[in-house]
Amino acid sequence: MAEEEKVEGLQQLKHENQDLPQVLVLGSPTCLQTLKQLYSHKFRFLIPNTSLDSLYPLTAPLSSISAVICSASFSLTAPVLRLLPSLRLVVTTSAGTDHIDLNECGCRGIQVAGAGKLFSEEVADMAVGLLIDVMRRVSAADRFVRTSCEAATWDFPLGYKISGKRIGIVGLGSIGMEVAKRLECFGCTILYHSKHKKSAVSYPFYNSVIDLAATSNALVLCCALNEETRHIVNREVMLALGKEGFIVNVGRGSLIDEKQLVKFLMDGEIGGAALDVFEDEPNVPKELLSMDNVVLTPHCAAFTSECIIKLCELVAGNIEASLSDKPLITQVKW
């Protein structure tokens, strides 16, 4: 995940400031360095000395840990949770919670806090940037300019208009609404699919993602990943979207049947795709790496320097609330 972390054995920290509340940090969140800079006087951050998704096999320290900070790339499964018998709080540095066994947390009375709406603007900005890039071929054009120094003229394929197009948003939560707000200013018609119709919203609602795809020029995926939404964009949806249809995914990789998407992109059954997330990050299907009608970004839609400090404040705030038995700032309810 992040740049090389300083490795700290859990044993060493026994001798340091014993009074500070211990917080176990899993999955090397991007904000870790800033978190340590800002809050080492308030918390003792324990970081396992392994880069794998497995805890260092240990004893005493783990049994007393009551708070865990976890990034989206760490699977906080039931077996892992069982290694932490005193756990009361999980704070994830992501908006998504698909990497956490929420049922196990519920059974154990472990509270979960997430990033809430913190990243919504950032992710919406990126979603719009990705949509424009794939439809107007921005990254492909930039590559073209950098490699065609000797060309006498610029002969570059035309893109597709975005203004006035019909954009189908899958998942009209905080991120989806921010995307809608931005694209409305482009004169786009916003349509959506969500688990339930939202009465306060005037955009046309589609109960079926296939119907949404059939009437949209592009789909923007902004929903959470759970059992119902896994592969919500499947073969039928992609066929309905069509040869001049585009997909933008800033949710989770598994929202799309990735193998099918690759096949359709290779066969020209779909116009193009802009993907910030993949089924098996950081692995990206190799067929995509040479395509000009795809844009590929390394799960970074949320990460700007502006949001990192706010994220650290939110993480610290949630931990402090839990320690003082106060309501969490961004409690995840399920």
């Binding site: 995940m1 992040a2 740049e3 090389e4 991007t30 603007e121 950032e122 919406a124 900005d125 990126m126 719009v128 940037g129 990705l130 424009i132 890039d133 107007r136 921005v138 990254s139 054009a141 930039d142 073209f144 300019v145 950098r146 065609s148 120094c149 060309a151 006498a152 003229t153 610029w154 570059f156 035309l158 893109g159 597709y160 208009k161 975005i162 203004s163 006035g164 707000k181 931005r182 409305e184 200013c185 482009f186 004169g187 990050e281 950081p282 692995n283 990206v284 790496l289 844009v295 590929l296 970004t297 390394p298 799960h299 970074c300 990460f303 700007t304 320097s305 502006e306 949001c307 990192i308």
Partner: protein, 313 residues
């Protein structure tokens, strides 16, 4: 109208070239030797010239065509056409305003996001396999930033409207302050540059706006500022821009146009804070077709004695 002679002097959409060929007696004069040959044999019969952003009739060419009645440009920018000469000679000029306004504004926002969020760089990062070694670094948020627009015409206003969806503050510089505008006006480009995070060049190219983005403006924009040029290459003092980027005096740039297209300063190729596009502001199937139809409709209107649709002169 198959007997009316028309001279094509700029690169246009194939569809337009085909239609001109069908409807008129079309001569191609895009490259200089082609043009010289056409002029030698047919100068006296040419009644219309079709221009584009890559080529238009200068004073010499206009003088060489005694029967010239109309210049129809496949572009909104007419800096390649000697408008003054056209006025003197009673030659009508049409361009393609409005049909490409949205397109260019869309791309402008795309360029801003590509630069600030490093989208092209991120794409390169993934394609090169670097993601397996670690995450990409933090980038810069766009929402909430201050956008400075140089030239609040159709395109500038369309960019502003889109930026409002990102909760940006908008300010502008124009030849004259617009009393009905809700955006903040600055009386000079340097002041505009000093007070914004992203500066968008969206004005026409004239003798007054040539190199309007100079060293002083670039320094005022500063090491965290971003310049976006969707106007004409000559709006910017290109060598100054290159040295400012190389020295870190300017935070970044998104450029769709260059002083000597298709030449792009190679020093820019190694920079991760620039995005370089091959003049694609209006390059969509939908818009180029609409522009082509406007050129054809203006020519037809002229030769039928009807009012021109989008006359400039």
């Amino acid at each position: 109208m198959g007997s009316i002679s028309v001279l094509l002097v700029g690169k246009v959409l194939p569809y337009l070239e085909q239609e001109l060929d069908k409807r008129y007696n079309l001569f191609r004069g895009i490259d200089p030797s082609q043009r010289a040959a056409v002029l030698r044999d047919h100068a006296a019969s040419i009644r219309a010239v079709v221009a584009s952003s890559s080529g238009g009739p200068d004073a010499a060419l206009i003088e060489a065509l005694p029967k010239l009645e109309i210049v129809s440009s496949f572009s909104v920018g007419v800096d390649r056409i000697d408008l003054q000469k056209c006025k003197e000679k009673g030659v009508r000029v049409t361009n393609t305003p409005d049909v490409l306004t949205d397109e260019v504004a869309d791309l402008t926002i795309g360029l801003i996001l590509a630069v600030l969020r490093r989208i092209c760089e991120c794409d390169r990062y993934v394609r090169s396999g670097n993601w397996k070694k670690g995450d990409y670094k933090l980038t810069t948020k766009f929402s909430g930033k201050t956008l400075g627009i140089l030239g609040l015409g159709r395109i500038g206003a369309a960019v502003a409207k889109r930026a409002e969806g990102f909760d940006c503050s908008i300010c502008y510089y124009s030849r004259n302050e617009k009393p009905d505008s809700k955006y903040k006006y600055y009386p000079s480009v340097v002041e505009l540059a000093s007070n914004c995070d992203v500066l968008v060049v969206a004005c026409p190219l004239t003798s007054e706006t040539h190199h309007i983005i100079n060293r002083e403006v670039i320094n005022a924009l500063g090491p965290k500022g971003v310049l976006i040029n969707i106007g004409r290459g000559k709006h910017v003092d290109e060598p100054e821009l290159v040295s400012a980027l190389l020295e870190g005096r300017l935070g970044g740039a998104g450029l769709d146009v260059f002083e000597k297209e298709p030449h792009v300063p190679e020093e820019l190729f190694g920079l991760e804070n620039v995005v370089l596009l091959p003049h694609v502001g209006s390059a969509t199937v939908e818009t180029r077709t609409a522009m082509a139809d406007l050129v054809l409709d203006n020519l037809e209107a002229h030769f039928l004695g009807k009012p021109l649709l989008t006359p400039l002169v």
